[in-house]
Symmetry: C2
Subunit: 196 residues, 2 copies
């Protein structure tokens, strides 16, 4: 592989591709809201922890700060237009659940609702809020996870998240996941794998 | 869209898909190392900030903690096996640059090297280290970005990151990016766009 010449770009957020998820928040149906974020990620394995970063001006910022809870709902190809819409419209003006015709479902450990149509929902409790510049980072612990039962392999009961048609976000565009290149560890398995 | 029945899974890190990147660190060729991480993300827009989370036992943990600098190098289909290898092998045992036959290139603002073969390199300076459980989160500011000059559109000089064949990581597997579903905002453009 030959390295090629580099050009410098202004410092910016060029980490790609990213997750893109609907974060549901609020504590009663009247204040339920959804904000779409790509500034989110996993930050710790044990305990399982993740974060979402939200601009202070956003309607959901106040809800997450007040209740210290939220749910991450993964995005699929089928949910992509709804996810996009929830990212460009404000909950101050619109009841997003109603307008998008999606279902708020009771969570197990938090008052924020699950989005029932999402194939995987992650209930989170905020542990710490870190003020950065434009965004505050909500550091949270994962307290419950729910999956569409259709994603369970009927024989093994293993979660087949590869069947969920998840969506990735890169440089301002939404993409389906394409070809599987390999499983974690494939680079060393190639040389050694001769299973009996 | 019909919501389907849910099953509960143990609390875990189910946010998917994620980025997967090679993080280069160290300050002189003798201690240069690479660690592959998926626990990484963007946390603030202004100033541009991102994080990587690293287990304290990892060789790169000490390097990033000592020098408070690292470079994020995006992964492509061509770099995927190398990225995987750098995630399963330790820099305590192997000189990863040498063994993977990749090129350490001088960065602009940090002493950690760029991986020349990666299409996009993000120089980062650590601002804060947050101890969670198994992982520490290195919160960093982006101080410089470099791109393969072949990714610039010859006419507009715009960055065509869609030409970089980036890789996404989901539930333990590496995937190419597939079909473009839409651009951020497409859900509202569909209704209103009638350009003159």
């Amino acid at each position: 592989m030959k390295p090629s010449a580099k050009i410098s770009l202004p410092p910016g957020n060029m980490l790609n591709p990213l997750p893109v998820v609907m974060v549901s928040c609020g504590s009663i149906p009247d204040d339920y809201n959804i904000i779409t974020v790509a500034w989110c990620g996993t930050i710790c394995s044990e305990p399982p922890m993740c974060y979402v970063s939200i601009r202070r001006e956003r309607h959901s910022y106040d809800l997450v700060k007040k209740y210290k809870e939220f749910v991450i709902n993964l995005c699929t190809q089928e949910l992509c237009a709804i996810t996009d819409w929830c990212g460009v419209r404000s909950g101050r003006k619109y009841n997003k659940f109603q307008l998008m015709n999606i279902t708020a479902m009771a969570a197990e450990k938090v008052k924020a609702p699950l989005i029932a149509e999402s194939p995987l929902n992650i209930e989170c409790i905020v542990k710490e809020i870190i003020s950065l510049g434009s965004h505050d980072m909500f550091i949270a612990e994962v307290v419950a996870v729910h999956a569409d039962e259709k994603l369970l392999d009927p024989k093994t009961q293993a979660l087949r998240l590869d069947k969920a048609d998840l969506v990735s976000y890169s440089h301002g565009n939404y993409y389906s996941l394409g070809e599987k290149i390999g499983k974690f560890g494939f680079s060393v398995q190639k040389k050694t794998s001769k299973k009996k």
